[in-house]
Symmetry: C2
Subunit: 243 residues, 2 copies
């Protein structure tokens, strides 16, 4: 007995559904518009709610949708371009950088940071909490680690200590930065500040600031992956083009 279908391609339902929804978003919905609720969408497409949610999750990861509990699912605007290194070759907290200092306390650095600082986890560091806002929303949180040994005379806590730690860095000559980007999921405290649920996808940018052949500071910045596109302004001609 022969079968009519050759080379069956069992595409998962949620994957197909995602494609269908993506097309609907392009043609039938405007940015900011609210979609029908999940129970109705599931019924309309004849799938279980869990399956529909799997499709919506994909679209959310791609920055096409935004879901808010108690409110609904809306069509997301295009991702915001956020320049990761707006001021070329400068210390954090230099005039013109996009961050706001929220606080600072003395802690033992997490293992990964200690490794980047070429220090042990027992050596105390100042951990400066900063946030970055753009287009009316908090797009990133940051923990900036500065060894206490490099900033003599620093004490106390709060934003004042944070500013002092940053000022201390500015007296040094910045020789270079080293940066990496990876996928992460938001810890509970970061999630709260970013107005997301814990576990939301984030882009983690780790920056190492070098001076005198050593690492003088390490910044771990956590950007909302759903709304942000990280940009890296680069060599000369770019600004020419932009102007």
């Amino acid at each position: 007995m022969g079968t009519t279908q050759l080379e069956t391609v069992p595409e998962p339902k949620y994957w197909h559904l995602k494609t269908v929804l993506a097309e609907a978003l392009d043609s039938e919905f405007a940015v900011g518009q609210i979609l029908p609720n999940e129970r109705e969408l599931a019924a309309r497409y004849g799938v279980a709610r869990a399956t529909l949610r799997q499709a919506l999750e994909q679209l959310e990861f791609e920055g096409r949708l935004q879901r808010r509990r108690g409110v609904g699912t809306t069509v997301a605007p295009p991702r915001v371009g956020v320049d990761v290194a707006p001021v070329e070759d400068s210390w954090p907290g230099a005039p013109g950088d996009a961050w706001q200092t929220d606080g600072c306390e003395e802690v033992s650095p997490p293992a990964r940071v200690a490794r980047l600082l070429d220090a042990s986890t027992t050596e105390p560091v100042s951990a400066v909490r900063r946030t970055r806002r753009a287009h009316g929303q908090t797009v990133a949180t940051e923990l900036l680690y500065v060894p206490c040994a490099a900033t003599p005379g620093i004490s106390g806590s709060g934003a004042a200590r944070g500013h002092a730690a940053l000022r201390a860095l500015h007296h040094l000559e910045l020789e270079g930065q080293e940066r990496s980007v990876e996928l992460g999921s938001a810890r509970a405290d970061d999630a709260r500040q970013l107005d997301r649920l814990p576990g939301a996808p984030v882009l983690v940018v780790t920056t190492r600031y070098l001076s005198g052949g050593a690492t003088m500071a390490v910044a771990v910045s956590t950007y909302r992956a759903d709304t942000c596109r990280l940009t890296f302004g680069d060599t000369g001609a770019v600004e020419l083009l932009a102007s």
Copy 2:
């Protein structure tokens, strides 16, 4: 009647489970080791399999686990650092770059690429397919778009055409690059090449190559987000430090 618990913090089960598992990974498992299967883990922790899977998914996004159908769940090695711009300020395909040219065909550029090229979607471009390998696995796929108008005399298809298109670029003076990174989910074809399932999280790097005040090429590179940490080698002193 009084209750013993003050300030109930209804932490989701999967979130708590994720934390517990993460600690177990640190203390009881070695890299590459295979975990008990999902049904057993779910039973062991007294949750439904779906809930356990939600926790595992989080850990996979953080690069801690690797799951393969038909095989099992293994403890992932630390993420591989992949330099996004290994050769500073050079065209793609220059000697020493990390990519392999797989093929090339003439297409109409997708809308987003056309916009970056300051061109219309009807103007034909060469789409060069490239892949990048590191540590024995394919870590990225790329589509590099070069306007046919900028590379006169190019024709045919396949790797030969790709090499020709790249060579044509090398005759121009590169004035700058502009780069962005964002989260995406793997399309079916990319997923196959990256040995992942469709929808797997990826980091999408878009690079604009500038020459003569115009955009002469656009590369859209898709990196595995689970195994890769993108690094951006930077200003001078870094190499000094590495040596």
